[in-house]
Symmetry: D2
Subunit: 348 residues, 4 copies
């Protein structure tokens, strides 16, 4: 499980198109809090109001960053996107926080990316060969450069052309011109859903964000699909023929919140079913089924239901344990580990 902590392509994105709504920054903030489980390292949002782009991004949790004062400075917005980034070990800088906002020949563009490109280094080399400079180590900067170099084709073609170059996992929300754009990679590795509000549309990594923004779920963005949302409504482009659903199984098992629906399946139900199947295929004799919290709870309940072995609590997680203490010696390190997840010894 600790290995999973090091996966770098785990993030959450959100996008809102709502020209007549005064509470854009507040709604983006709600959406990001709902997606906070997908990334606790940094958060940011970019808003377009009357053609002008404002943005703010910082290290930390959404509610720490977007104080009343910061939200005040971000007031107003017709289109907005937001991003939460996963806390990875090693170097993490605010310069790697998203959304990335750049100026290019076509105007301003803001990008928020959840995923991981497998050919990013190759594309960086190629772009540097053509004279590009890079200020961050995030893939969004590669994508922005590709779009900028294709600007003459118009933004739609420039984005599609860029998507054809990149390989790997990506769910993107983009502000470009007066459009909110959502893109999902041809394999549908990272999730992206669309919802509808009274005056507009919402894109988000998970359905849990729709609820708190005040949007109703419409549908998943399909693998290999780009949606363009503007004053004319929603326009869909399939930029890849060979889309085949290859969802990342960690989304269902570990990343996503249990109350989210993804590509037609509820996460909690999927986990519970996995537990049931496990019980059928690998029955054991035991007094009790206990879960490793939090992501293992649904599977444990499923295993208990199928096997008839009672479900109980055996491991307690300290929900106030933010960062791990760095300890000088082994005995203190062992105590520190007990702080986070504690085995709960009990007489039955």
């Amino acid at each position: 499980m600790f290995e999973l902590d090091k996966l770098k392509d785990e993030c959450g994105v959100v996008g809102i198109y709502a020209p007549k709504d005064d509470s854009m920054s507040q709604r983006l903030c709600f959406g990001l809090v709902a997606l906070q489980h997908r990334g606790q390292e940094s958060a940011g949002m970019a808003l377009l109001k009357d053609g002008k782009m404002k943005y703010y991004k910082e290290m930390g949790l959404v509610q720490e960053i977007f104080t009343k004062e910061v939200l005040g400075r971000l007031e107003g917005g017709d289109i907005g996107i937001g991003h939460v980034r996963y806390s990875t070990t090693g170097e993490s800088y605010v310069s790697n926080a998203q959304p990335l906002v750049v100026n290019y020949k076509g105007g301003s563009i803001a990008l928020a990316h959840n995923g991981n490109l497998v050919n990013a280094n190759m594309l960086r080399d190629e772009l540097e060969e053509q004279g590009s400079i890079f200020q961050t180590s995030i893939d969004s900067e590669v994508i922005a450069n590709l779009i900028a170099r294709n600007y003459s084709l118009g933004f739609k073609e420039a984005i599609i052309k860029s998507m054809e170059r990149i390989r790997g996992a990506y769910a993107l929300t983009i502000i470009c011109g007066d459009n909110l754009i959502g893109v999902r990679d041809p394999n549908g590795i990272r999730p992206l859903v669309m919802g509808k509000t009274e005056g507009g549309y919402v894109l988000a990594s998970e359905t849990v964000a729709l609820d708190v923004i005040g949007a109703e779920f419409i549908r998943d963005i399909a693998p290999g699909e780009m949606v363009i949302i503007n004053k004319d409504g929603v326009e869909s482009h399939m930029f890849s023929d060979n889309q085949r659903c290859a969802h990342c199984s960690f989304e269902y098992v570990y990343f996503a919140r249990p109350d989210s629906d993804m590509d037609g399946a509820n996460v909690y139900m999927t986990r519970r079913n996995a537990g049931r199947i496990l019980a059928k295929n690998h029955p054991v004799e035991a007094d009790m089924v206990i879960a490793v919290p939090d992501s293992g709870i649904a599977a444990a309940i499923g295993y208990a239901e199928e096997s008839g072995i009672p479900y109980g609590v055996g491991l307690i997680k300290n929900k106030y344990m933010g960062r791990t203490f760095i300890q000088p010696d082994q005995s203190m390190r062992e105590l520190a580990v007990r702080l986070k997840l504690k085995c709960f010894k009990r007489k039955h």
Copy 2:
């Protein structure tokens, strides 16, 4: 449940006697993180090293306050006590954070208090009549004044005399002279346990703090008991005859962590049994038993076990939802509520 949020007498205390241990401030910190669920408003610790008292207290969570730098300044300590305070609505100031450290005729004294005195105002009036001044609104200041006015009796008698004057709930950890002192009110309303480390002793509101400090549970401090821990070991005084156990039921139902043991009973088991009894006495026809997280989970499991109705998850809590957003209008307020605790609609 929201009313409970306003209970003001909920706190956590810890105390360590360990003259030869170099990691006093770190262990206090671990203990306080383990007790963080008992209070998130402020935290503090006081340490005695070679007869000199140092302390630090601040608003916020334990890990936010006790950074590497702050812990560095608190290095060294023979005896230490710590406190976490509950976040109450209304006014909350750092001046009300604990431990309270004062100088009096007998030297220095540090106090950490979990509880609520019912005759505090009367005692304040009486003390003010005698010329005392008050700088905080916490009961600890009343107790410190009482001890100071009885100093001529010696510290033991001074504390006992003071305990005879105060009425209500109190679990105290005190540094006085070269002694670590633990006191529990005659009704045993607030919990206090004692543990043993290699080189000393630990006092704490709950057994979960013992584990992470590296101490083994010895016993509960009895209602009406004062323990004095120093180089001669542990000395016990029963300062009240008519002790009768009148534990606060909220400790078992709501305040304490499920993996704590209190006065001979495990909190999780107590909650599960409550659920079982409820199922016997109040059977209902239902498809599923769901819990209000987090404190209701054990009872729901108990109800499910007894009734045979399957247990499942139906409400999801956002664990990253720190403070509640203050919202200007009703529609945004409604969305904000959904952020904290969300009903999880699902097709069975």
Copy 3:
């Protein structure tokens, strides 16, 4: 000069009586910024509004502490006092910041003290003997205890009685009941002046604070005088017969701002005259008179005027050099010293 940095009795106080003014906290803030040269360690203010006392104090500079948000929380006030404290080497805690606000039998009292009592330890012992406890190491706490123990005499007599007990330097601003009180020790060691605004009165350590609060200078508080300001105007009590002016010469030489007037003399003029007298009594042959900034400038100008030797700049102070860097080795320490005050080599 570096020894002077360690003088601990250097502070600034201010007090405003203005029941109909809405900008109390803002004016206190202005006054404290004008007195910031008297103390950069901590600052605080206490305000009485409709009989209720609010206060805020913190480590740091006035403008860092009293942000827009903090001033907002302190809105409203009929009477207010403020304090800036000098940065001393060694331990400095927010618990030693002023004003000190306490409850006693007579109600609430807030005190701000500039000075240093010579019999503070003796009085502490005496008060502890009577059962008092102390939470800080500031003299204000001694004074508050004395007033509280004399409360039955009424506030005027209680304060006078307390002043008769304390020895040393003190300029005090006090809120007690609906009164703003100013007190100056019988020797007039620390300065205190009174000014008038449209709707009230102002007390301050130096006249420079009157200007920015919008008050006109009326007069100095006399040595051994207590003034009580309330809805009936200003009432004066001389609580000491043998007052003789024994101003601290460091006020004129070092502490005060050159544009302040103190006890009938302007600080700049006094310094210039000192320079002139020095030139008469100790003439030297030299090419140029240079000053050690900032306090030595006026004296150097006076010396130049009297001697006929031209005045010039020879030492430059880095005004952005806040704290001194702590340097690991000698060569770096020497460079760090040059940062603060640099000898300015020049070809004439």
Copy 4:
């Protein structure tokens, strides 16, 4: 004078080449504190150690940003550059702080720029036309793009080629490969000096930075000169024929510190001479010459010397007045102005 506050091209730069020195980040910090008067909005530094680039930049004063902890993270460095940026009204973001650090085909490059390009917008358009994206609004990003697009010529030619494209004022310190590079525009509008330490070289906007870094002044970088400092020593290239000294007069009058020497003239002496010339050309009858602090002091002294009218202090600046308070009404605004610079009324 308030208009001057809005000049955007005022900054300070520093560069150190010292492969065997362990205190690189500390020396950069000293140099930036000495140049703090050239910019108080943001500060930053970039260090190259064993071919790897580290950097840190933030809003605020040098000493606030470069805490012990931050300097610790920047430990080690063979080559380093630093930058302080002026506080301009209007929008100021950390993304505009310098040095700018980018990756390009040739590796890593770090740039710190003092000045203002007059053809920046034209160059941005041209670069965007070629597919470049921009993430900041600083000229350094234009320069970095130009260098990147010329990378195939080798770094020297690439920089020279880039300098030939840009027009306006620039004093640059650059880390590129294992070289520290200093460049000054053909008109020499912004200052840049070179000094020598025991083990290396230093570049800085003003000589006052050399002193505190522990370097001895060698010479000014000439207008139109590029110096390349590396293990082989100092190499000089004149990249412009028609260099003519067109120093910005504000450097002497307002920006620079009086104890700096620039292009052969001392700033204090220059200001004093200006005052003398003014006295000759524009004699007046007056009782006293007073200066507008701080930049006007030397000129006032010169005027006094030449005219025989005595020099005195008439305006006092509050050195603790950081930001200007934003005041709700006119009367409070007027008081706030008095806080910053106060006319000093005195009876002669």
